[in-house]
Structures are given as structure tokens and as C-alpha cells.
């Protein structure tokens, strides 16, 4: 190869460097202002419900940044950041340090609880029930199958579901109680739903942020549930899903998809929402920040962030005074409905 040709290659190589971009990673000082800016920026770039909740994050920044005092204690600084995050009114937003974790609680604390585990165990289960993988189950009054699933963090195995549904083979209807279920692993929804469908079913849509702008979202991507194979036990009869305001996150997603099935009736109070899959980040001081990052909507592509209403005509409360006297109005209504539906 002649020398001039090598020279040309070298020149082209050098010229190509002008196209090389500099990719700066924004860094923040590990002081109060730096940590405040880091947290504000993380939320600004990744939080997914600014537009839906009509939150003016820039205004919030200026209001709270002015409150920083270099002489404030770390606890006071943590509280300041917590107060700012509370403006998002989102149960998926947390700030975690070694001495405290911030939770926004008003999404459920301002509502009736509509559930008492003690009442359930004492007056409906007689402290005598079967349990596997965290799932409580029993045949109520001889003809209604009852499942209480306290958390989607409990792994659901196909074998366990087979045993549970086979246990209910002579029942007229099935109650799945997800009251006080704060969510967990989305893949556990698949396990349940697969037993209640006979064909591929649209579950909803998922989006993600494509950039740092508040409105930078991908096109909605539909996700589907596949029926379990015929070798597994299926349930084709009526189902009542019980929920309350503390039904949140993955449990909220579960209610969303179950409500779309024709044999399912949702009974109780509006769920707590939590329709944004949370991501975790951190700020220089070492505190973890969790925030809603990837919105999930129902099969009609409607937001489920603010909760899911029960089936029309089935919204009711289980008041605390009734619960104290051993009456769970939501559970009673479900039992009555399933018997009538038979």
C-alpha cells in the first residue's frame, strides 16, 4: 500500500474525531445544596406523572431550595426533602436513609381501612385455615372458595395454585381478597390470571420515559396474559375480587386485569393506585430515592395511577365499628353475590 494511501487513512481517522461527542455525567457536590439539586434533578428527569398530576416541579424547586440552611441538621434536611417529595402525592415515592424512610401515606391514611385481619381470622376463618406460600385459603360455609393473598411479594407456584383450586372444586364461586395487599412482583399476577382465562388476553399497556423531558414517553406497548396449559387446574366459575384503598401497586395491576374479565366482579373500595413501576436511584449523601418511572395502564389504556373503582353497584365499605363486631361487609357482600350468581 503506498505511503500516501496510509496518510489519507490517517487523516480521515483524525478528522473523524471532530464527530466525537463529549458525554458529561452531571455531578453534584455532597453538601445540602448539591444533594438537593441531585434529588430534584433525578425526579425531574425520571418521574413519570408530572403532566398527569399537573405538578409544577420548577416552582416546587424554588420554594424548597430557599428553605435550605447550611446550619440545619441532617434530620431537618431529610425532612425538607421529604416534604418536597410529598408534593408528588405518590405512594411509590420514597427517600431512604439509615435513620429514616420517607413514605407518602395519605393515599390510604385519608380513607377507611375497610379491612381487619383479626376480624377475618376470628369470625370468618375461625383461626382454622390452610396456608401456602403466604396465601391463606379456606372453603367458607361449605360452598365458597376464599383466598387471601396479602402481598404479591410472596412467590406463587403453579403447584400451589393447583392444590388450592383443586381444593375448591366443589365450590360455587371464588373470592380473591387482596385488601391491604401493597403489591410486589408483577410476574405473580401472570400465575393467577393464567388460571382464569382460556385465551390470550390483553392485560394493559406499559410506557417508559424515552428522555429527560416530562412528556418524553414511548408509544404504549400492549402486554398480554397467556392461559395456563390444560395440564393445570383452571377456574371458570364466578370470581369476586375484594379490594380496599390499601390495595396498591402490583395488587392494583392485578385488580385492573381481573376487572376486565367477564366472570369477575370487583367488590369493596377504590384501590390505592400505584400505576407507575418504580425505579431506584440515589443522591451523593447515599440516600436512596424511589420514584414512579414507567406508567402502566389498563386494557382500555386508561391510567390506573389514581386507583380502580369497584364494579358498578359493588362499591361499599367495611366500617371499623362493624369490623370490631365481627362483620366484614365487603366479604359478606361477596359471599352473598356469589351464591346469588350461582
Amino acid at each position: 500500500m503506498p505511503f500516501t494511501k496510509h496518510l489519507h487513512i490517517a487523516i480521515i481517522l483524525l478528522l473523524s474525531l471532530f464527530g466525537v461527542a463529549c458525554h458529561k455525567v452531571e455531578s453534584f457536590e455532597n453538601d445540602y445544596y448539591g444533594n438537593f439539586d441531585a434529588l430534584w434533578t433525578m425526579v425531574d428527569e425520571h418521574y413519570c406523572f408530572f403532566e398527569q398530576k399537573d405538578v409544577d416541579w420548577n416552582e416546587i424547586r424554588s420554594r424548597y431550595r430557599d428553605r435550605i440552611n447550611p446550619d440545619m441538621t441532617v434530620n431537618e434536611f431529610f425532612d425538607l426533602l421529604s416534604d418536597m417529595l410529598a408534593e408528588l402525592k405518590d405512594g411509590h415515592v420514597n427517600l431512604s436513609s439509615r435513620f429514616n424512610t420517607f413514605y407518602y401515606r395519605e393515599w390510604w391514611s385519608n380513607y377507611p381501612q375497610d379491612f381487619s385481619m383479626r376480624t377475618l381470622e376470628q369470625y370468618y376463618l375461625d383461626f382454622d385455615y390452610r396456608t401456602t406460600n403466604g396465601i391463606i385459603y379456606k372453603v367458607l360455609n361449605g360452598d365458597i372458595g376464599y383466598i387471601y393473598y396479602p402481598s404479591f411479594s410472596y412467590h406463587v407456584s403453579d403447584t400451589s395454585l393447583d392444590y388450592i383450586l383443586a381444593w375448591f372444586k366443589n365450590c360455587k364461586g371464588l373470592i380473591i381478597d387482596v385488601r391491604d395487599n401493597g403489591g410486589g412482583n408483577l410476574t405473580n399476577i401472570d400465575k393467577f390470571v393464567a388460571r382464569f382465562i382460556r385465551e390470550k388476553t390483553l392485560g394493559g399497556y406499559i410506557r417508559h420515559k424515552t428522555g429527560k423531558g416530562h412528556g418524553d414517553f414511548s408509544e404504549p406497548y400492549p402486554f398480554y396474559y397467556e392461559p395456563a396449559s390444560d395440564s393445570f387446574v383452571h377456574w371458570d366459575k364466578q370470581i369476586a375480587v375484594l379490594c380496599n384503598r390499601s390495595t396498591f401497586s402490583a395488587a392494583n395491576d392485578f385488580v385492573s386485569v381481573m376487572k376486565s374479565l367477564p366472570q369477575v366482579t370487583v367488590i369493596g373500595a377504590c384501590t390505592g393506585g400505584g400505576g407507575g413501576m418504580p425505579f431506584t436511584y440515589e443522591i451523593p449523601i447515599g440516600w436512596s430515592l424511589r420514584l414512579s418511572a414507567s406508567p402502566i395502564s389498563n386494557a382500555l389504556d386508561e391510567s390506573i395511577e389514581d386507583g380502580i373503582e369497584p364494579t358498578e353497584g359493588f362499591a361499599l365499605h367495611a366500617w371499623s365499628d362493624q369490623l370490631a363486631n365481627g362483620v366484614d361487609a365487603i366479604l359478606d357482600r361477596a359471599i352473598m353475590f356469589l351464591r346469588e350468581a350461582d
Binding site: M1, P2, F3, K5, H6, L7, I9, A10, I11, L13, L14, S16, L17, G19, V20, A21, C22, H23, K24, V25, E26, S27, F28, N30, A38, M42, H46, C48, R98, L186, I206, H208, K209, T210, G211, K212, D216, S218, Y221, F223, M277, P278, F279, T280, Y281, E282, P284, I285, G286, S288, R290, A293, S294
Partner: protein, 295 residues
């Protein structure tokens, strides 16, 4: 960040300088290579090495903070002169397995990095006066790995995978320390055209698991996928075996979908070369010519 940009410039300048020198060397080496008519052996030179050093990791999919810590690797290199023109062409296989543990500045969170790489390369070499050898060529390979942050919930890991076409260049010199033959070398590999994986800015792996694979494969070049590997090594030939000591500097970075990844490591290298380099021969074989790829 400025260091990384400087690196890009420095490495490109290095490649350019190699290209210019190789042009001159091409003219020289034609007169250096002899044409002996005897059976030729082309032994494979194998180098097995352990690497220990420091590493830093920034992956904004997981955290905006720079994590620092230590890295360990095992690597192997197999090099052979090619039968069709053993004096000019050599072939390389490179493989490595890397592990790093790094912590954030407050030491409250850690990340684990595990990666594996493989490269096949073909290089043209020029033997220059003063026992200097120059080589330049290209390689094809892959690099796959994962960065795991156990503290994160739905974004606990960042998977890495790239198919790379790389430019390679090396310079080496034979010398003796007392009566010990030594080969000093510096070798640079610069992935130039790549196809690599990255999720979108806020895309969960759950969404990818659900089947949304749109836009997760990217075409890479220095502007969005800059990587460099530089190994400075001294091979000490004891005869039946040889030892390698060296220093490796490695950068793997990408910037795509507003996600920034920078993995930088500096490592001390110690290795063994079974059967040696062939430099410490008691007497040359009268009937066989051995052509080694490493010098």
C-alpha cells in the same frame, strides 16, 4: 469526563501514527525478511494472566454516582504466525473474564460487575531494525456483562452486550536484561464499529421481558460507544517458560438514549507463557525454522 475525551483523541492519534509508521515500515521490512528454504514451524504462543487493580463504574441506568473499587480478571491470549505468510501475518485469539466490586462515594451501596470478552484478530507485522516489531490490524469479537446493584428495585441490573470490529496496533522490542531475553510490548485495541445493546432511558427490563424489543440494539462508533484496551507488557523468557508482567488500561463507555456508562479499570498483569518465547535457545535448529508470532 474530560479525561475520557482526551483518551479518544490520544487513541486516535496513536492509531494514526501507527498507520503512518507502518507505511514507512512496509518499505523497510521487505528487505528485512529472508526467504529461507527449510521446514517452518509456527508455534502458538499462549499467555495466561491474572489481573488485579482498580475500577470505576458509572452507569446512569442504575445510579448517577461514580462507584469505585477493585477489579480482578483472568485472561488468555493465543497468537500464531499465519502459514500463508508467517513473517508478515499473525492471528490472535483473546479471551477474558472480569469481575469488579465497587462502592458509591458514601460506601453505603455497592455494585458488582461481571463481564466476558472474546476477540479474534488478524494483524500485519513489520520487523524493523533494532529488534523492533510493529503490527496493525483488526479484530472481531464480543463483550458481554452485567452490572448489578442489589439496592435497586425494578432497575437492579444493567446488561451489557456488544459485537465489535476493532482496530489494533502494537509495538514491541526485543532486548536482554543481563542474559535474560525480554520482549517489551504495548498493544492497543480500539473498537471502532459496533452493535450494542441498551434499553431506553427509563425502560424496565420487565418491559423488554414482555416483548418490547424495539430500539434496544444500537449501532456504535467512537461517538456513542467508545472503548479502548491498552496493555503494556514485559515478557521475560526463561527458556522452558516465560513470565509476563504488565499493566492494562481498559475503558468501556457508551452514551445512548441519554444513558451514560463509563467503566474504567487499571490493572497489574501477571502471567505465564508456557514453553517460553523461543528466544533463549541453546543453539538454533539446523533443520527447522520456528517463526514466533509474538516477536
Amino acid at each position: 469526563m474530560r479525561h475520557l475525551l482526551n483518551l479518544k483523541y490520544a487513541s486516535a492519534v496513536l492509531i494514526a501514527v501507527f498507520a503512518i509508521i507502518s507505511a514507512r515500515a512496509n518499505e523497510l521490512c521487505d528487505t528485512v525478511i529472508s526467504d529461507k528454504k527449510m521446514p517452518v514451524e509456527l508455534p502458538v504462543t499462549s499467555v495466561y494472566a491474572l489481573e488485579f487493580g482498580g475500577a470505576s463504574v458509572i452507569d446512569t441506568y442504575l445510579s448517577p454516582l461514580k462507584y469505585t473499587g477493585s477489579t480482578t480478571a483472568v485472561s488468555g491470549l493465543w497468537r500464531k504466525a499465519m502459514p500463508f505468510d508467517p513473517q508478515r501475518w499473525v492471528m490472535d485469539f483473546d479471551a477474558d473474564l472480569r469481575f469488579a466490586t465497587v462502592t458509591n462515594p458514601s460506601k453505603l451501596s455497592s455494585e458488582l460487575l461481571l463481564s466476558a470478552g472474546f476477540d479474534w484478530g488478524m494483524n500485519r507485522r513489520w520487523k524493523l531494525p533494532y529488534d523492533i516489531q510493529l503490527s496493525a490490524g483488526a479484530s472481531a469479537g464480543f463483550d458481554a456483562g452485567i452490572i448489578y446493584n442489589p439496592k435497586n428495585g425494578n432497575n437492579p441490573a444493567s446488561a451489557k452486550f456488544s459485537l465489535d470490529l476493532s482496530l489494533q496496533a502494537a509495538i514491541s522490542k526485543r532486548l536482554t536484561l543481563g542474559r535474560l531475553p525480554v520482549v517489551i510490548s504495548d498493544r492497543v485495541s480500539l473498537p471502532t464499529l459496533s452493535a450494542f445493546f441498551s434499553p431506553h432511558f427509563g425502560e424496565s427490563y420487565y418491559e423488554i421481558y414482555l416483548g418490547n424489543h424495539a430500539g434496544i440494539a444500537h449501532c456504535g462508533w467512537w461517538g456513542n460507544h467508545f472503548c479502548i484496551d491498552n496493555l503494556l507488557a514485559a515478557d521475560l523468557d526463561f527458556g522452558k517458560t516465560a513470565m509476563r508482567v504488565g499493566y492494562r488500561f481498559n475503558v468501556r463507555s457508551s452514551y445512548v438514549c441519554d444513558l451514560n456508562t463509563q467503566i474504567v479499570s487499571h490493572a497489574f498483569v501477571i502471567g505465564i507463557i508456557p514453553h517460553g518465547l523461543g528466544l533463549k535457545k541453546s543453539k538454533p535448529s539446523p533443520i527447522t525454522q520456528r517463526i514466533y508470532a509474538i516477536y
